[in-house]
């Protein structure tokens, strides 16, 4: 027996059927908790952000925009990192759930990236004096949005799901180069955007009274991501099953 055939009989078969079924069971159990947690954390975060957190000594009340801007930006980078990791898993191990996860993640990441850009403009205008500048941080985040949109468009453009998965995985991995550029743009080049406030080697530079609401909001965004991801993965799996059944039906006729 050739190695490829052994793989098809052994790992491949188990992957293709047992795993998505088990995923469905686990996802079905986790999804309600993730949704509930997301709602609770986001409401708590908003309450802390508006009623407990003080105004900033320089930026006044505009600092509250941070409570949506920063978690959005973090999730934009997190989603892309997860998208690239899932794409690598798809190319290397051919795990069917990896493609499903990657495809389900892209629109979520695109929404977070759009939020980071919109709230950033609304924060930049009153504080910096401009909605937008072409500095390294802002430009690289705009590139991230286009990567997400390009990834989603590529899935639509290629009809054969296996070919589409491969092309999209390669695009996602190539685009990952942009993630460290975004993160370190503020350290490598002169930018209008200030350096990192929370994830620094010297520890957070935000007072605890503002840091806690921010972290609660960030946790809420993460829970929201898990809830929406599980739902979208279910739809992708149903879609794969639909395609399989339709081809069976066509063969039977």
């Amino acid at each position: 027996m050739t190695q490829a055939a052994a793989q098809r009989r052994g790992g491949g078969g188990w992957h293709r059927f047992a795993n998505p079924a088990r995923f469905r069971r686990i996802a079905g159990a986790v999804a309600p908790w993730a949704s509930g947690l997301a709602v609770a954390l986001l409401l708590l975060g908003l309450a802390l952000g508006f009623f407990v957190a003080p105004a900033d000594y320089q930026q006044g009340e505009t600092v509250r925009i941070m409570f949506v801007h920063v978690p959005s930006a973090w999730m934009a980078l997190f989603c892309y990192t997860a998208l690239a990791a899932a794409s690598a898993a798809s190319l290397i191990w051919k795990h069917p759930l990896a493609d499903v996860a990657a495809r389900a993640m892209a629109p979520i990441g695109a929404v977070f990236t759009a939020q980071a850009l919109i709230t950033g403009a609304l924060w930049g205008q009153p504080m910096w004096g401009t909605w937008w500048v072409w500095d390294a941080r802002l430009t690289s985040v705009l590139v991230l949005l286009f990567l997400y949109l390009g990834y989603m468009a590529l899935w639509q453009a290629i009809e054969d799901p296996a070919k589409a998965a491969k092309a999209c995985a390669i695009l996602a991995i190539v685009g990952f180069v942009n993630v460290p550029i975004i993160k370190f743009s503020v350290d490598w080049w002169n930018t209008l955007h200030q350096p990192a406030s929370v994830l620094t080697t010297e520890g957070p530079k935000i007072h605890a009274s503002m840091l806690w609401p921010l972290l609660v909001m960030a946790a809420g965004f993460k829970a929201y991501f898990v809830a929406v991801l599980l739902l979208r993965m279910r739809t992708e799996l149903d879609g794969a099953r639909l395609r399989a059944l339709e081809s069976r039906l066509a063969a039977a006729e």
Binding site: Y57, G129, V177
Partner: protein, 146 residues
């Protein structure tokens, strides 16, 4: 397993190559990527009068002078070098002495920077006003603005 390992190494080396190419491109394009030059960089570069560029730094303390006609004189400093700036227009809310600033414009023949746009650049520290006040009083921290 061997094929999977081969695929993994192929992917890792492709990514490393891609990273190297990206790094080379970014280093080559550095002059286009930086958003502004500091006063010392400006002195070192000595751009021709009239060439459009941006300078950034801190607004020097006691340098801001507002004239009757609405124009503002101030100096941008990085501690070593200082560039005088003339600007007519709307200043951002965060424009203060000791505060970060980025100005777009060009040098005139005499070394005065004629700015057409002034943006505020703030740092990465966030805290309530009382904490900033307390830190200033203890002399532990030279706060910006105020």
């Amino acid at each position: 397993m061997k094929r999977k390992q081969r695929r993994m190494w192929l992917l890792i080396s492709a990514l490393a190559g891609l990273g190297a190419v990206a790094a080379l491109v970014l280093v080559a394009l550095e002059d286009n990527i930086v958003f502004f030059y500091g006063p010392s960089e400006l002195v070192a570069k000595a751009p021709a009068a009239g060439q459009r560029l941006r300078i950034g730094g801190l607004v020097a303390v006691d340098s801001v002078k507002k004239a009757e006609d609405g124009s503002v004189n101030f100096a941008v400093t990085d501690g070593n070098n200082t560039v005088p700036v003339l600007f007519r227009g709307l200043l951002p809310d965060l424009f203060r002495e000791g505060q970060g600033v980025v100005a777009e414009g060009a040098l005139d023949g005499a070394g005065l920077f004629l700015a057409s746009e002034v943006l505020a650049k703030h740092d990465e520290k966030y805290m309530p006003p009382e904490v900033a006040e307390a830190l200033r009083e203890q002399g532990q921290w030279k706060g910006e603005g105020g």
